[in-house]
């Protein structure tokens, strides 16, 4: 299966290993036959040697981490083109071995985004969360896999992110979303120690999706129903804008209003039901229900009602 940038770039440690073994055999063969010699003890190859070969000489620390990382383990324990060795990502190392110059080896963070993507997707394209990467929002902005991930310098090992957490990584560019943590109502719940309870990846697929805003579902509402299945319906008395898009009324990240509403509850309802205003007004024009839960003091089934008398989303 095709796994490399190009066949010409393919290099496995096996030729080197075979050559080394051959040299070992030759070296052994030079021993004078006259005297019985003790059988040389062959030291088993370490994981680092298996995985990195010559790279180990100069990059020991990196390699010693790499063998415990998933790509390094693939280099150690997988075969048949699935393994990710040093040269899988950094290209052929022969020239760099000779010159030790940085320019003679590929460095993914310095490569063109498209080339990095090709390299990573050679193995990872089959995963459905990557299927829509090409020409996705992030791809169109010139980002590549190493914009967010790092094999050797990850700060968040579970997804090899270059930041301590998903949300922290996303906020690096989407700085305007930081305020959502501190708004009156928020969906970005955190513990008192700022552990994220809802990560960006719970709702978005940063690798691209078939849905606007890279929503990780076939539609916005379908995503919301994952956790809020009680709103899926159908209901006897439907509320059409609710069924069409939860964002007709709610802001998903954070809001200055309770319940992630776009504006004060009575003003939100009155954007479509303004003719009802006066029927609920009391003296001095102050709406009877602009207190406590506002319109929901009575219209408590705003997402839909299954009660025969719930025509106006009461009951």
């Amino acid at each position: 299966m095709f796994r490399r940038l190009s066949d010409a770039n393919f290099h496995a440690p096996w030729p080197f290993a075979i050559a080394l073994m051959a040299l070992s055999v030759l070296a052994t063969a030079q021993t004078p036959p006259s005297a019985p010699e003790p059988t040389p003890t062959r030291r088993p190859r370490t994981a680092e040697q298996i995985v990195a070969g010559k790279c180990l000489q100069c990059h020991r620390k990196v390699v010693e981490e790499f063998v415990n990382e998933v790509h390094g383990k693939s280099a150690h324990f997988m075969a048949g083109g699935s393994e990710a060795t040093c040269e899988t990502c950094h290209g052929p190392g022969e020239k760099h071995n000779d010159t030790t110059l940085a320019k003679d080896i590929l460095n993914p963070p310095r490569m063109a985004a498209r080339d990095v993507d090709k390299m990573c997707l050679a193995c990872h394209a089959k995963e459905h969360r990557r299927i829509a990467w090409t020409a996705s929002e992030h791809d169109r902005k010139g980002m590549s896999c190493v914009s967010c991930h790092s094999t050797h310098h990850a700060k968040s090992p579970s997804k090899e992110l270059i930041a301590f957490s998903e949300n922290e990584l996303c906020a690096t560019c989407h700085t305007d979303l930081r305020k959502a943590y501190y708004q009156r109502s928020t969906h970005l719940f955190r513990t008192e120690n700022h552990d994220e309870k809802i990560a960006c990846g719970a709702c978005h697929n940063p690798h691209g999706s078939e849905t606007p805003k890279m929503i990780a579902a076939v539609s916005t509402n379908d995503l919301c129903y994952t956790c809020h299945a009680e709103l899926r319906g159908p209901y006897l008395w439907e509320h059409a804008p609710v069924r069409e898009n939860c964002q007709n009324c709610h802001i998903p990240h954070g809001s200055n209003n309770p319940m992630l509403l776009k504006t004060r509850l009575h003003m939100l309802c009155q954007q479509c039901h303004m003719q009802m205003l006066n029927r609920h007004q009391t003296v001095a024009g102050f709406d009877v229900f602009t207190f406590n839960q506002g319109c929901a003091n009575c219209h408590n089934q705003v997402h839909g009602s299954n009660h025969p008398s719930g025509r106006t989303l009461t009951h």
Partner: protein, 844 residues
């Protein structure tokens, strides 16, 4: 950026364990205090990574080999004691979605298995163990073969601790003592609000003072499992399960309004009636996902099946009216007087649903760097929850149903909905980079929601506090029918990206979106959107992005119900000649609903990132979004968003890191009142409208501001024996609502048509965090952290609320009548919290 919290430094996964393996206790040379660079140490602050990078660069070529002892199992834990002081009458927001511990806490417990000679990786991570917001995650995988993921997460939701007369005496049954109900009814049966004796208020307050208190809140428990297996390079099989359980209670308002005794001016005396209930919550969502991925060198196909069931243990809530011991109905005409006089009523909770979805995804790579991909998804949601009766009010009858009890299920047109919604989602895209430096994309997307639920003609509905049975006669003889609204949304997108120069990229995009809707005012809308974007890197370390989008949404036909305008009274009336369209919601004709009316949209943003030096980075962004709706129409006129954000990070050396982030956001919107629709209306000249059915309304506008400032610092001594982390955050929001009535007010509506400016709504949250950590030896740290958190809210919805705010709610200096409404007073007030915690971190 926000200083990563000390626990955000804690990542016990593979890389951390790898670091421990390399540089674990016992393997370090004597005198070497520092942990190895490149290690994802769980105890470090972010500045370490600047330091680590420096060391890595310096030592990469010359680091001597060090044999590491085998250490496959690693543990990390943080535990300690914590306490906090909380001031404030209603400090519930302090633990709205979290638990802040008092006493011993186990903040973190991480276990990981890493063996360089093993293809297996395993780790477990637990946070806030045994707290209401605890989280546990675990993974086991065999590289290239399988991966197992398990998680358990809890999120609390706390409202308040509130007195209530409604006691949960059985599943879904809230009851009030018969003695209380009898005493309340005996004091106020049938009286209009102005005649209710003050002794009644004392009676209610007295009962609430001794009423039991209930903890309003619920918890959400989520368990998830996913197993993937890759028998070969080209095949992946996976199965996943998700379980969500919500249990507890939440406040739900029930009630109605009434106009008692229309006064000489015609405005009348208004009253709100009802009771806020502590509704029990107990529901479960169980989802199963099964799927497979098959791929070749140039293609990939995926198939997924999802099945979800939602089960509600309390499908209905039956509750008693605290103010009634006997059933009665409102008096005619129209049920204006004597509402909310039932003994028992019911709420229908979310019905049980069964949901299935099948999704197919496929992609194919053609030559010339071209890819085609598609998604097709079909789903079905069904529910068949038995209906509740129209009402439980035994006194209610209807001439439309002679001899039939409205409390009986036989009065209903059907016993259940047998509802079904079928949704089909499709997405097809072709993307190509066949031409060097250009990317083309064509995409089509559609979502078809087909509500196939049957429609029923109802003889009427119980309204006004289950005290009056409204029939079609009350609705201009328009039948009362449930509407199974459906829609088709389609999108067509074409975009072209051109890397003009190495430093300049431009993108042009055209987007068409169309909606087809049933049972809504606008059966069809079309929107054309054009977008341009520029990415510019004028010099190394500087990136600038600018984009602008213009959208024009048009409505083919906006159907209205044309009431007749009567010039002599300046109002709209229904006459026998008025013809209603039964497929259009029976709402006032000329109000344009913003989500389906014509609209012009402007959306632009600017973003810049400047790396001033290796230590200093500045980024800033601006955004402007404005929607102008059908101009001159009654309803939402426009809404506007302006936001600006700036962020600065400074890492002056190996042991210091500072950041600052400031955001400002402004939201504005404006509505036009109905007076503008009067033919020939002139502000200040043309009076508008009778009270009913079409009443005078105000022009309104809202101007909301939000400012958020975040500051953070991380400092460490030489060798990082001492570390200090600090952050300060403040969020300040203010909403200013202004109303006006530009048209004269008629003699019969001075009170209801006179505009009133709502008080400003303010919300301010601050958080100060500081921690000091001392490393006793590698792998062992002790520390102290402090939190100061003041919160202040000023909201006219809530300021004067109590369980029985009779006499406390005012508007424009005049009392709002809520003599017969009991609340839970479930709200958040100001608070100030001080928390101190001492902790130990240990790693092996």
């Amino acid at each position: 950026m926000i200083a990563p919290n000390w626990l955000e430094k804690i990542r016990p996964g593979a890389a951390a364990a790898a670091a421990l393996l390399m540089f674990g206790i016992g393997s370090r040379a004597p005198g070497e205090e520092l942990e190895a660079p490149n290690a994802i140490s769980p105890m470090t602050s972010p500045l370490r990574f600047a330091f680590a990078e420096e060391r890595a660069k310096a030592g990469a070529a010359s680091e001597p080999a060090k044999p590491a002892p085998p250490q496959n199992w690693h543990i990390f834990t943080e535990f300690g004691v914590s306490g906090y002081d909380l001031d404030g009458a209603l400090p519930g927001k302090f633990q709205e979605y979290r638990e802040v511990p008092r006493g011993f806490f186990l903040r973190a417990l991480d276990l990981s298995y890493l063996d360089k000679d093993s293809p297996y990786i395993a780790w477990m991570r637990a946070r806030d163990v045994r707290e209401k917001d605890q989280r546990i995650e675990a993974e086991v995988w065999r590289v290239g073969l399988f991966r197992s993921e398990l998680s358990w997460d809890e999120i609390p939701r706390f409202y308040s601790r509130s007195p209530t007369l409604e006691q949960l005496t059985g599943p879904g049954l809230l009851q009030v003592s018969p003695a209380i109900r009898a005493s309340f009814q005996g004091a106020v049966d049938g009286q209009p609000p102005q005649n209710i004796p003050p002794s009644f208020f004392d009676l209610v307050r007295g009962e609430l003072a001794v009423a039991p208190r209930v903890d309003l809140g619920f918890r959400r428990e989520t368990g998830a499992f996913r197993q993937s297996v890759s028998p070969s390079d080209s095949l992946e099989l996976h199965v996943g399960a998700l379980h969500i359980h919500k249990s507890g209670s939440r406040p739900v308002g029930t009630g109605t309004f009434a106009r008692q005794a229309i006064g000489p001016a015609g405005d009348g005396v208004w009253e709100a009636l009802g009771v806020e209930l502590p509704v029990p919550v107990d529901d479960r969502t169980d989802s199963l996902n099964v799927g497979t991925r098959l791929s070749g060198a140039k293609w990939r196909v995926g198939l997924d099946y999802d099945y979800t069931v939602f089960r509600n243990a309390t499908p209905s809530i039956t509750y008693e009216n605290p103010f009634r011991i006997t059933d009665a109905v409102a008096t005619t005409p129209g049920g204006n007087v004597g509402r909310e006089r039932f003994v028992r009523a019911q709420l229908a909770s979310a019905p049980d649903t069964d949901f299935q979805r099948v999704t197919v995804r496929a992609g194919w790579d053609f030559s010339g760097d071209t890819q085609a991909r598609g998604l097709f998804s079909w789903s079905q949601s069904k529910q068949n929850e038995p209906f509740l009766p129209f009402t439980l009010n035994t006194a209610m009858t209807s001439p439309e149903l002679p001899g039939q009890s409205l409390t009986s299920l036989s009065a209903l047109p059907a016993r259940s909905l047998n509802g079904k919604i079928v949704t089909t989602d499709q997405n097809y895209a072709v993307v190509s980079r066949a031409i060097q430096s250009m990317t083309f994309r064509l995409e089509y997307r559609s979502e078809h929601l087909d509500n196939q639920s049957p429609q029923f003609v109802f003889p009427g509905v119980s309204r006004f506090g289950d005290s009056y049975f409204l029939t079609a006669v009350d609705y201009y003889n328009v039948p009362i029918v449930n509407r199974s609204t459906s829609f088709i949304r389609q999108d067509g997108i074409a975009s072209w990206r051109w890397d003009v120069l190495s430093a300049l990229t431009t993108t042009l995009e055209y987007h068409w979106q169309a909606w087809n809707r049933t049972f809504r005012d606008a059966p069809r809308t079309d929107e054309n959107i054009g977008k341009i974007r520029l990415d510019f890197t004028p010099t190394k370390g500087v990136t600038v992005r600018a984009d602008y989008q213009y959208g024009d949404r048009s409505v083919g036909l906006y159907r209205t119900v044309p009431f007749d305008y009567v010039a002599s009274t300046n109002t709209w009336v229904v006459t026998p000649q008025t013809r209603f369209d039964p497929t259009v919601p029976l709402e006032f004709n000329l109000l344009r609903r913003y989500d389906e009316t014509a609209r012009k949209q402007h959306d632009g943003s600017l973003w810049a990132d400047v790396r001033m030096s290796r230590e200093l980075t500045l980024s800033a962004s601006l955004r402007y979004l404005r929607n102008d709706y059908a101009e001159g129409f009654y309803g939402l006129n426009f809404d506007e968003l302006r936001s600006a954000t700036a962020e600065l990070t400074w890492t002056p050396g190996e042991r210091g890191h500072f950041y600052a982030n400031y955001s400002h956001q402004q939201n504005r919107l404006e509505y036009l009142g109905i007076g503008h629709l009067i033919p020939g209306a002139v502000p200040g000249v043309t009076a508008c409208c009778a009270q009913y059915p079409i009443a005078n309304t105000w022009d309104r506008d809202s101007n909301s501001h939000l400012d958020v400032l975040l500051l953070g610092v991380n400092l460490a001594t030489d060798g990082e024996r001492w570390m200090f982390d600090g952050s300060y955050s403040i969020s300040d929001a203010r909403d200013v609502i202004h109303t006006s009535n530009p048209f004269p007010i008629q003699a019969n509506s001075p009170l209801t048509a006179g505009a009133y400016n709502y008080p400003d709504t303010k919300n301010r949250y601050q958080e100060l965090l500081a921690s000091v950590t001392y490393r006793i030896r590698p792998g062992l740290q002790v520390g102290v952290r402090y939190r100061y958190e003041p919160y202040a809210v000023d909201d006219f919805y809530l300021n004067n609320m109590s369980a029985y705010p009779q006499g406390s709610l005012t508007a424009g200096g005049l009392p709002v009548n809520v003599q017969r409404y009991i609340f839970l007073n479930s709200r958040y007030g100001n608070y100030t919290a001080n928390q101190v915690a001492a902790f130990v971190r240990y790693r092996y």
